[in-house]
Symmetry: C2
Subunit: 354 residues, 2 copies
């Protein structure tokens, strides 16, 4: 190996439209830097960051309508989704299956492979939401968990969570809600999605997405302590007894960053951000519609639109970080770093590419 | 929630003797701060940190005697150990089992639960190393992977890796080496432990332990590309195709920090650190022996010693972060932040506690 000739620079966010992560809030960045070397996975050695984690989980409970939340701050949505399936599988009989909508994040494919459970994918309705009838058809006595998504990765849709809760209850299964991205905007909408709205057992909600915490800060929350018990592994040579997390050593930067972001922004700061992001999404959708593109109405701050391949490639060549849905639509995630000025610059480049 | 009255402080390292993590190297800390918001799990959006990861993996290959390494920088040793077992299980038949020594880290218990495989624990010899005869007895046609530890968590022992490779080969199984902690000191010893020394298939080696990178920076390395293929999940709506990692979003701070530490310290800096840490361990062992304690000879920079409960509690009350093995010994991990002055201060407090 030779030392790199030029020092590589971190990604600037001024052209990032594809990511569900964002530039962290300054208070969160500061806290992350301070706790960079702490390990919340070893609470006896690093008690301060453990205290911050308990407070962060309590604040996450406020966000999701749960008075006495059980959970932790982990590496992200994939870990939390795997853990939800793992807990449900461990609490169920053998041959467990998972029923999730086709819109579920690919981490459920990963969970199925890792955990050796069957993943049954339900069709979507005309508005990209889980088709409850098909979920009902797929669920059976072996179903360990029914998954609903509150803010889908591709189209920002919110599944009918209370109805999915009914299906789960009839099947004797858990209901898991993946609100990894949506969890910090949904409290300011009319959607039914959280522990207070429905019979939700577990939830994924990521501070490092719309919560403006630094990576890695994912949230895994459960209504009942038995869920974490089902995940616990004994831990010799730590001065604590058991560990319910998927990882071992964990990021103090992520935990302290999540705590600082929640402490700073919940609740008014997140509401302001939601309103700004949603207004930006509505604006972009309207501008694209004016140009004749077929746009999917943004019910949350995420715009999906048809876009010919030529324009997509030209925009990437212009330096825009953009990505597509599995069916080919351009998706623009209106994260906190995405400003009206960025969108105008993007639209100007789009107009030049046509 | 009310805002915390006093701002909690990160853990100072001047009394931490229990952790296998450490205060990161300044160059690594600086790189981590710069790349705090980058996500190596989304290489099309964050190409710079992806380039750093490729270089970091290549440098890790140099550390472990592997010319063309396949792998990635993940969340830590637990993830890498789970991934090693998962890859072996996916490449094997049903009813896979894992044979590991009783000294294996508890993450293998976690891997067995998560991956639904049988974990068979082999006895240790008189020097706390895997008993090869018992490993041989436990391995059979269903064994997917044999585990050896190169630097055990409790006693810093190095299993007979080449002999375990022979057992694995006879069983048609992979050989996985857990060098999470030991990987950055073993290159400067006479032990046979790496890809060049034995028929190793996969390895755990954590930059965030003796590698002086910030948390989270774990290393998972494989000799063959098929290993990563066995872990790959398709990734729609990212502009990359597949993802072999256990997590999704990953820490840019960890990847950039690992790169910076390796770039700065491999190879002379790590050798200097090994020599200092080993000298400290030898010194502490000698001082404890002089005081009449039964000390386990430190073959790597980790000292284990009998210590009555009363002294242990008194030292914890003095603010020392210390922990015990499952059989009750005090263990002191001579990490880079552990200086001779710290050890003298610790010994003085020990003397007062007697």
């Amino acid at each position: 190996m030779t030392r790199a000739e030029t020092r590589p620079a971190p990604q600037e966010f001024d052209r990032v439209l594809s990511s569900m992560c964002t530039d962290p809030h300054p208070a969160a960045r500061d806290a992350a830097m301070r706790f960079l070397a702490d390990n919340p996975g070893d609470p006896a050695t690093y008690p301060a960051v453990s205290d911050l984690e308990r407070e962060a989980v309590a604040m996450l409970g406020d966000v999701v309508g749960l008075d006495d939340p059980h959970g932790y701050v982990g590496s992200g949505g994939t870990e939390a989704n795997i853990q939800a399936v793992r807990a449900a599988r461990n609490l169920a009989d053998d041959d467990a299956n998972v029923v999730a909508p086709e819109s579920a994040h690919f981490s459920f494919q990963k969970a199925a492979d890792v955990l050796d459970v069957e993943l049954r994918l339900a069709e979507l309705d005309d508005d990209h939401r889980a088709d409850v009838d098909h979920v009902t058809d797929l669920a059976d006595d072996d179903t360990a968990v029914v998954v609903g998504v509150a803010g889908t990765t591709e189209f920002g849709r919110v599944d009918p969570i209370p109805a999915l809760g009914d299906v789960a209850e009839d099947a004797g299964a858990n209901l898991h809600v993946d609100a990894a991205w949506g969890g910090f905007v949904l409290p300011f909408t009319d959607h039914d999605w959280d522990f207070a709205d429905a019979a939700v057992d577990t939830m994924t909600i990521d501070p490092h997405k719309m919560g403006q915490a630094p990576v890695p800060a994912g949230g895994f929350l459960a209504r009942d302590p038995e869920t974490l018990d089902a995940l616990s592994i004994r831990t010799p040579y730590l001065e604590s007894d058991t560990q319910p997390t998927l990882g071992g050593t964990r990021s103090g930067a992520g935990v302290a960053g999540a705590h600082a972001a929640l402490d700073e922004l919940w609740r008014d700061g997140y509401r302001d951000q939601y309103e700004t992001s949603q207004a930006n999404a509505d604006y972009l959708a309207s501008e694209l519609d004016d140009r004749g593109y077929d746009v999917v109405d943004p019910v949350l701050p995420l715009v999906a639109t048809e876009l010919p391949d030529r324009e997509f490639r030209a925009l990437r060549d212009d330096g825009w970080r953009i990505s597509r849905t599995a069916s080919g639509e351009l998706r623009v995630v209106c994260m906190p770093h995405v400003t009206r000025e960025m969108l105008d610059s993007f639209l100007a480049d789009l107009d030049r590419s046509r």
